[in-house]
């Protein structure tokens, strides 16, 4: 009952907004090359569903590949950094610099390096750059979040660095790490879309290309359809990551 109400409220709001949009477009006779009504966008979604689905799949695949790459680099680096303050002092400024540099600014370079005939490689690399920081910083702050009294207990019994890492800091970092992965998943989609825009070619056939292509032809309803697919993809990925996070944390706490 409660879950139903939680769904009904946003659904009602969306219906009201769509209704207002539809009515405004019709009453004010807005040309559909400026702002198409929702009904026309819905038709575009249905008509283009096969290609939208394929494009969404490509974007998702590139974003997930980027997430895996980012995690594969950020996780061991954070563990290593957590092991020694010297490494942390060396690595942290670099990581922060990487994070504050806008991905659009480095995208043209990466596109050239990856080879213009392989835009998907550039897109995965750029999305991985964006996804790297939340995973790295989540893992790192998590590694430092262990209860200071538990740290003292490990001092007291003469624990080795490895014991401390595996039995105290890594488990303590889990909730922070999962949060980082969740944020990174959302960012990897954004990174993939931005990178595909910059690559500006249809080579990767993701949703960003659908938006670009429709925009160039002034097919605004198709543009909206691709944006809609992107929003659904992002929300779906977020929900999936949230479910994974909840499962992992339930096991971590020993409760369901």
């Amino acid at each position: 009952m409660k879950a139903l109400a939680a769904l009904a409220l946003p659904a009602a709001l969306i219906l009201v907004l769509l209704g207002g949009w539809e009515a405004a477009c019709r009453l004010l006779a807005v040309p559909s090359y400026i702002l198409p009504p929702p009904s026309e966008i819905a038709q575009a979604v249905i008509a283009g569903r096969a290609i939208l689905f394929a494009s969404a799949w490509n974007t998702l695949a590139m974003a997930l590949a980027a997430l895996v790459v980012a995690a594969a680099i950020a996780t061991p680096l954070a563990l290593l950094t957590g092991l020694s303050p010297v490494i942390e002092r060396a690595v942290s400024p670099l990581a922060v610099t990487l994070q504050v540099t806008p991905v659009v600014a480095i995208a043209p370079l990466v596109v050239i390096w990856a080879g213009l005939e392989h835009p998907e490689r550039a897109i995965v690399a750029l999305a991985a750059v964006v996804a790297f920081f939340p995973i790295f910083s989540g893992a790192l702050s998590g590694l430092k979040s262990a209860d200071p009294d538990l740290e003292r207990l490990f001092d007291l019994y003469g624990a080795t660095r490895l014991q401390r890492l595996l039995r105290l800091r890594a488990p303590a970092a889990t909730p922070f790490y999962m949060e980082g992965i969740k944020v990174a998943a959302g960012l990897s989609i954004i990174g993939a879309v931005v990178a595909e825009f910059v690559a500006g070619s249809g080579g990767a056939q993701g949703l960003a290309w659908r938006i670009l292509e429709a925009g160039n032809r002034l097919r605004i309803a198709e543009m909206f359809a691709a944006v809609f697919a992107l929003a659904v993809l992002g929300a779906g990925l977020y929900a999936a990551m949230q479910a994974v996070e909840r499962k992992v944390l339930a096991a971590w706490r020993g409760r369901d």
Partner: protein, 250 residues
């Protein structure tokens, strides 16, 4: 006369150029029960870290004749790892000290049974009540059979009934293996009940204001809290504590 486990000689500890503790001269003999009482900010926890060897004196000496693993600490909060079962938490000190896993787990189960937590082995800390978690923490401290047991306000977060029964449990456990116990608290009654010797500290920097012998049998017999001698000791320690706190304020 046996040699003391820990001897503090003119020991002082500074934090950021401010003296937090000392100078203090104090000895801890094997099997003795000592309480350190003082107002907050008197460096009680610093004193405990000094005794644990987790801190070095800035000036003076702290001589410890204890091997690694012979000192155990029970902190103010249970300090259990939330991701591990009660059994794994209690087995941790043994496993860190290199005991084989099976042996560590068996001894941990024994220790849990001794503090009345038989059957709670598989529970996570979040599933334990405050009193149970504190007992698990006590069991963890006892698994290594320490010669020096340090308690840092272990009952501060518990209600009166639980803290009284836990105080008796601690004394009963002490009677089994007779470790030296140093107990930090701001509760005078707990101090007088659980210790043979009560050391009153002044606030910032903590120095010894007075030392009392509490007398009476250990562990305490039923009804001990109501006895006139015990009440008198509590009053004396309270008065000394008030004087110590007042001197600092003046």
């Amino acid at each position: 006369m046996t040699a003391p486990l820990v001897r503090l000689e003119g020991a002082e500890v500074d934090y950021r150029d401010r003296r937090a503790l000392g100078p203090i001269d104090l000895e801890f003999a094997p099997g003795g029960l000592t309480a350190l009482v003082g107002p907050s900010g008197c460096g009680k926890s610093t004193a405990l870290r000094l005794l644990a060897g987790l801190e070095r004196p800035t000036r003076g000496r702290a001589t410890r004749s204890l091997a690694r693993g012979e000192t155990a600490v029970v902190f103010q909060s249970p300090t259990l790892a939330p991701w591990a079962s009660a059994l794994a938490n209690v087995a941790l000190p043994l496993e860190l000290s290199g005991a084989p896993r099976a042996e560590a787990r068996a001894r941990a189960a024994e220790a849990l049974a001794r503090v009345g937590l038989k059957g709670a082995e598989g529970l996570r800390p979040a599933q334990l009540s405050g009193g149970m978690a504190m007992r698990a923490s006590l069991a963890r401290a006892l698994t290594t059979r320490p010669r020096l047991l340090l308690l840092d306000e272990p009952f501060a977060a518990l209600d009166e009934i639980v803290r009284r029964s836990l105080a008796d449990d601690v004394l009963a456990l002490w009677a089994e293996t007779r470790p030296a116990v140093a107990f930090v608290t701001h509760n005078v009654e707990d101090a007088a009940y659980m210790a043979e010797r009560v050391v009153v500290l002044t606030p910032g920097p903590g120095r010894i204001a007075a030392v009392f012998e509490t007398g009476g049998p250990m562990p305490r017999p039923p009804g001990f809290r109501a006895e006139a001698g015990f009440r008198r000791t509590v009053e004396q320690v309270s008065a000394a504590l008030a004087v110590a706190a007042g001197e600092a304020a003046a």
